[in-house]
Symmetry: C2
Subunit: 617 residues, 2 copies
Amino acid sequence: MRTAEKSRVVVVTVQYYKLCTTGEMRMRSPINSRVKSLVRRRLPIVAWLPEYSWGKLLQDALAGMTVGLTAIPQGIAYAVVARLEPQYGLYSSFMGCFVYIIFGSVKDVTVGPTAIMGLLTQPYVGQYGADFAVRISNIHHRRLIKRSLKIAQKSVYFSLQVLLCFLSGCIMALMGLFRVGFLVDFISMPVIAGFTNAAAVIIGSSQIGTLLGITGRAESFVDAMRKLFERFDEIQLGDTLLGVFSMILLVGLKNLPGNRRGSAGRKLMWIMTLSRNAVVVVLGMLLAYLLSLYGLSPFEITGDIAAGLPSLTPPPFSTAHNNVTYGFVDMVRIYGTSMASVPLIAVLESIAIAKSFAKGKTVNANQEMLAVGLCNVFGSFVRSMPTTGSFTRTAVNNASGVRTPMGGLVTGILVLLACGLLTGTFRFIPKATLAAVIIIAMYYMLEIKLFRLLWRTKKIDLIPLIVTLITCLAFGLDYGMIIGIASNLLSLLYYAARPEVIFEERTENGASILLVMPQQSLSFPAAEYLRERVMNWCDSMQNTKIVVIDGKNVRGIDTTVAKNLSLLSTDLEARKQRLVFWNWCENASSVLISFDSANKEHFKRTNALAQVVGEYI
Amino acid sequence: MRTAEKSRVVVVTVQYYKLCTTGEMRMRSPINSRVKSLVRRRLPIVAWLPEYSWGKLLQDALAGMTVGLTAIPQGIAYAVVARLEPQYGLYSSFMGCFVYIIFGSVKDVTVGPTAIMGLLTQPYVGQYGADFAVRISNIHHRRLIKRSLKIAQKSVYFSLQVLLCFLSGCIMALMGLFRVGFLVDFISMPVIAGFTNAAAVIIGSSQIGTLLGITGRAESFVDAMRKLFERFDEIQLGDTLLGVFSMILLVGLKNLPGNRRGSAGRKLMWIMTLSRNAVVVVLGMLLAYLLSLYGLSPFEITGDIAAGLPSLTPPPFSTAHNNVTYGFVDMVRIYGTSMASVPLIAVLESIAIAKSFAKGKTVNANQEMLAVGLCNVFGSFVRSMPTTGSFTRTAVNNASGVRTPMGGLVTGILVLLACGLLTGTFRFIPKATLAAVIIIAMYYMLEIKLFRLLWRTKKIDLIPLIVTLITCLAFGLDYGMIIGIASNLLSLLYYAARPEVIFEERTENGASILLVMPQQSLSFPAAEYLRERVMNWCDSMQNTKIVVIDGKNVRGIDTTVAKNLSLLSTDLEARKQRLVFWNWCENASSVLISFDSANKEHFKRTNALAQVVGEYI
């Protein structure tokens, strides 16, 4: 603070004590109120339920219904992405809605299956998506399984998504309880964008084949592209026409000039926009059904779906096939890196969504992790795949004017009704329509504009974006994410190692001096660098007798820096050059002086440089 | 720079262009002179040899002889540390001296075997140190070998130190040529100190048994301590007496009040101090020899040593035993992490030594790496173990008044003479004397004072020191070093994620405001944190209408920070609070404005805070 300002300022309260490093309030209060505050934090429903009203219920019910109309087709579509049977998408869509009512802290968030979760689950789902039958001996690695899948695709089938859902849920909940949400801070926006774009490309490209009526599945982006070119002649007219029409319809519906509070027509258009996925799927389904009445089947349909609600059973902790039992440890081994990537990405998605819809409110990231974690834990009892906050459905929820998380109740009931009553009719959903729903969703997930934005804003941030994008496309989402984060953190370390230092040769008070101005605090990776650069400068200007290091921007140093500065001072003395520390703050200078008391005489606090120099000539 | 100062200052030359990021001068000069400068840099002998004189030769020869008197006993002792036969210590001690004359840039540095290199080499040396006989099938990992060594110690013998020396040398030389010396910057002083202390403790403790006449070897620090307690009753009086006496003598000789330029007596004492290792070893050897004449052998002696010079043969790239051939790849597999740790630590030791003896001169770290690398490459042709700069011998060299690296010639010749002529007499060197030499050297390598210094200077720096020390002692030097460096880098990332931010509630121009002052530049790990802390503060002070973020100490931000600040602005607007960016530098504000042009109106450059606030009330 400058002195001139100080006089004009009245510092009312400097409440350092109030906010601890966690960013949460820790006021000294009686135990009773602390327990109350803990309960309100951990069970947000306690806060809003007493104030609940009929008016709110009406709005929540309307919003919940609109969300349900998106949740049902999206659930089926994302089950397709995960290569599960369609009913698993519905099984995954209702429990999250119910659990989030109790533990969720952001009214708009809707938890359920997402495209990225589907993609991450997919390696653990066999061709038939049947329950828990594992028949691979000596499984130690996911890669192995993938290879085995290719070799003997018919004989290998297993679906491990339920246990993955349970375990990821546990990890997320524990992350929330142990407050390690800060880990998410180390994933920068460009890395997230690279990851999201790659996921959109991978998921979208995997559906192009289905859209065009080509059977078979792709293992990766490259594989999908290759298959598409190789099997170009297998394109089916019926599927392609329906798929393209569905896509056009989806884009058209999205851009309807609807309005929530307009005329009846506007209101209808608004509802059509929000429930466009349901509209397109229902139209496709009707078309397929009507054509089937005339014995026509011009496009592939989803086929038989198991009817009824899922049974309430705990997730499988062991599984047997052909008299071989695979224990919990075997199953965890199969998951490998997914045990970290699935919870981390689920947390990332849900927190990002919570934050962007919490407008004006603080989001307790740890509570969100706990909530989404519990959604998964409970979900695993009804055969759910891993779930997280869904951006699309949360946006629909918000646009529909939801007031509290109670909207999820209606959404959940709607999905349950679909499970119980409509599975029979769902068999007519054309696969091409589902592919269109997925491709359009992925198209809107792409952030092409971001490339231009980063180019304009800070070009160097394009590097983590592009690194993550390319490695995700080339090596898969988990490895890509890890490489992206690592490269990004390395760049941070690089900046710590090579701080900006300005060198100026000056004539001050008649003497030629070298002024060294580090532009930031110094830590050990920069220690040798600074010393070396000063020595190099001094090599080229032998007649300089005084080297002044301006500590104005140095808020702190560590002992490695202190050691190197002390060595620098000895080195310069050997050349009959003099080192002066000028303008250093108490924090940094105390480290230097404690390290070597001889440094004390090098410090100058006098304000004017000329005066400092004057003392030495 | 402040305006008031500017007027008094004459900026003579701002030579930014002169020094590029590498810290070396890159002046535009004709090709001829550039080649010359390259040659002078890569072959420093070219610079000093033309100015060489008889006077310098005399001084170099004297210093070289004193160093030789240290190099011979130390070489033998460090071969013992590596569990090689003693002559390998001598083989390792001369080539480095010769090669460094040509490529070395610091006159005092002496390259040869060191205690730490011995310790790192030791796992690759079998019980008999015989040449290149490998008899372990399916070797994929060093741990495996260690276990095999324990299981069948008699049947397994191999010594891979020569290829390790060659490969480490190649890696160091390449590191020098590709200028990746900056990697060493990421190893802080506390980590180095923790590593050195751990190495001193491990090496010292491994010799206590030998000092007391207990046979057998220890695998680690814990193992050494356990053996000592278990086999306490096997202590031999003769060895113990000699060992303790040798230690006392070594300490006594070290502290003689000798002086290089004093009377003859002083001069003699000075020489005794410098060659104390040789004095003690010769005395022990004489004693053992004399006693043997009377048929007495009260202490264990080194025993037969192969006589003569080593043959000049290339390092073995494959090795055969019992009709099984082990190729280059098998051998490299055995090395495992040592392929990284040996060169890295060798580089670290030699650069640290070069820098501390280069008083007043800049050290070209890349050239030093190249020089030490080539010392190892050439050394591997004469059966050398990995070598690096030796602190003790470099200090002796410096104290003896060496003038150029030519001193190494005399040292090398002395070692060669010892190899050729004295190996027969070396068989009488008592093992306890060698143990005493090693233990005393390790005692002086311990930096106990540093603990107190760090406690006084910066307590937080004790953490990497202690982490490295403990992990090195518990898991071995390589793993300890890796964990130490990693924990240290994590602490850097922590500071990037949790920057110091000062919050102040003030009344300014009659309005209550919140002043937020980040104390350093902001990067992505801090983005969410800053936003969250501001939101939390605002939660607790509803009547604050203006939040001012003071960017005085923010030199730059990235897009993740820009995004979060933009979101913060939206969040605050939703609460009818106003965000103001005050005092931000061009660099940071341009990122914020490019990210979202709406941020433009939040910027205020007016100097006084009251004035800024005035605009909003």
